[in-house]
Amino acid sequence: MSIFFITLLLGGTALLSWPLGKTMTWAMSPPQQEKGFRFRLESVLQRLGGEMIVMEQSWQQYVLSLLLFNAVMFAVVFAVLALQQQLPLNPDAKGAIEPSLIFNTAASFITNTNLQHYAGEVTMSYFSQLFGLMWLQFVSAATGIAALAALARGLSGRTGLGNFYSDLLRATLLILLPLATAGATILVLGGLVMTLDGAAFATTLEGAGQTIARGPVAAMVAIKQLGTNGGGFFGANSTHPFENPTFLTNIVECMFIILVPMASVWMFGRLTGRLRHAAVVFLVMGALLAVKVGFANYLESAPTAAFKELPVAAAANLEGKELRFGTAAGPTWGVLTTATSNGSVNCMHDSLNPLTGLVALIGMWFNVTFGGVGVGMINMFLYIIVGVFISGMMVGRTPEYLGRKVETREMKFALLAILVHPLLILGGTALFAATSWGAATVHNPGFHGFSEILYEFSSAAANNGSGFEGLGDNTVPWNLATGIVMLLGRFLPIVLPLAIAGSLAAKKPVPATAGTLRTDTPLFGIVILGSVVFIGALLFLPVAVLGPIAEHLAAGG
């Protein structure tokens, strides 16, 4: 039954991603005709942005505008969070937030990570949630889509990559807003909470008091899921019955996780005019994802090891899971959310069986099995460049990608971008595991404590945002370290690929010959699958053995 459930879920979303990919391509391209809705909208936007929004930008200008706007995003939300006690929409009188936590949270949400070192219902006012965090959930996701569109334009041979501001507005207003509106409507009808009233106070049947935190949940949850954001309204994220009340809302939220990342691949294919190439990439990502989902479900069906020989009925590991979603829901969501840099959870990852936790970690280490909206495909582009380079070396030809020669400069950038990721994860983990900054904050003893530190840095570097939440991570060292890791892990892998695209676009196209490695064949699929798996394994296998694998073996598994 689980297999049937998973096939329906993944297959259904894959089917939906096809038309969405078409729509996203339409939305990110200039209007076809000088009339109609699109044309009028663009003229309104142009009046709004002035000259800055019309001009065609080189890759340097595009990157500059992207970074500039993201800096403005950071400043705006930093101010909103810092002033929340003075701002409206604060029925439960939330107080001031500690500065290092504000830094971490602002960095986390502009980078589309949504790592949360706070619990929403404890710390944030409704204004902070809506105008600070939810706003960034729109525009940070739009930044990712814009960057992918720019990359695709560069790879199709244009030296102008488009205009960042116009791309950002198109992605926000024409892609994310309609999706979120439809999504939030479905979710609120499915039973999610959506109110501006403050907490309710109940007296329970046994006479105890229960304070019931509420808020404008449905609106935030829709864009949190659709924009690979993952930052929940509540600290408990989508395990919370107000954020994910039923079996059906769980399926809908789960599909939302992978919908836009999947559609991003099709958009890339259409914008570069290489739809068959995109199909090969899509299948490689899909195959890896399906294997991970299968493994996670198998591994999580094992009973909780701590109950060995206690009189507890045999069952799958239920610690940290909600009953209403069914047994396949937790591991399936766990894989999708870490494969896509979403980071929302419907079960607590700290309480996953050790090897299931490893599958989640692998998702963040690869970060390309669809990956974040827009940026997942950008990450895959880096592996593609490495793949064509290795293949080219094997047959002794100068490697080419989409009709342009890949040379030293491009390879340097690609390798740098790929190596940033393990450097941040392994360096950070080593530092924090060796010092009291990390070692004093772990919740579980032994190998699992090490996994908690490893997971936190993996999540920050991959811009994922989920956590082994037992970790006491709201400390100044954690807030600063993960904040910096998130910023580097976000912007270097956006800027460097755009630099590669700019550099490729400036080259003369080379005609395809019989010796050219074709990018739309199963063979090419195997090449990029190999690059992802082998590079990932070489970089991360040792640390996997130190954490989850050691824990599994020590538990007699």
């Binding site: 002035g50 525009v139 959506m194 404008p216 107000f242 507890v312 069914g326 309480s351 939440e469």
Partner: protein, 196 residues
């Protein structure tokens, strides 16, 4: 070459950015949530407000969607909660499945739950992710029927009948195990036989 990198270019970019911030905020943070609020208020006001339950005097006694603590023998007990059913700071135990602390918690629960020699259903010894899971399995409820019936002076059969009435399968074929909502069940129980 780059007029954007000149000082004047930078200034007009910042000005454009600020205007874009204001427009996207108005649309995404004001109009969009207002629309969804409207849908909630018009179509699903009960769940959108938190599925609150009230007694005959109109006082709030909890939420249908959230677990609340029960420790007395005459009530069915929910799953353990790592946050003691705190609905304003929800969360899980975050304990590893190999953790000795998890085993200690399970042993403690086993000691106070007389299951008549039979193994206890796993959901009664595991905390949920939110700590507010409103459900237990039908089996976990059945284990408690004897205790509840005795404490209320009811026939076990009558309690079992009530259980059957409350059994739901939220995912139909995909969730073969029937569940019961503990709070709704206990409310019904109070209606059948008010506690002494």
């Amino acid at each position: 070459m780059n007029n954007a990198i000149t000082e004047a270019g930078l200034f007009s970019q910042i000005a454009a950015s600020v205007r874009i911030v204001l427009v996207t905020m108005t649309i995404c943070c004001l109009l969009y949530p207002l629309l969804i609020l409207g849908v909630g208020r018009l179509v699903t006001p009960r769940t959108a407000g938190g599925s609150l339950l009230r007694n005959d005097q109109g006082e709030i006694i909890g939420s249908e969607a959230l677990a609340q603590g029960f420790t007395r023998p005459e009530y069915f007990w929910p799953r353990p909660s790592a946050v003691d059913y705190n609905a304003s700071a929800a969360g899980g135990s975050n304990l590893s499945p190999t953790s000795p602390a998890l085993r200690a918690r399970a042993e403690e629960i086993l000691a106070r739950s007389a299951a008549g020699g039979k193994p206890l259903p796993a959901d009664l010894v595991t905390a949920s992710g939110s700590g507010l899971d409103p459900h237990i399995t039908l089996q976990a409820a059945s284990c408690q029927a004897q205790r509840v019936a005795a404490a209320r002076g009811l026939e076990v059969g009558a309690v079992m009948e009530l259980l059957a009435k409350h059994a739901v399968r939220p995912g139909r074929v995909f969730t073969p195990e029937p569940l019961v909502n503990v709070l709704l069940l206990n409310l019904d129980l109070d209606r059948v036989r008010p506690r002494r």
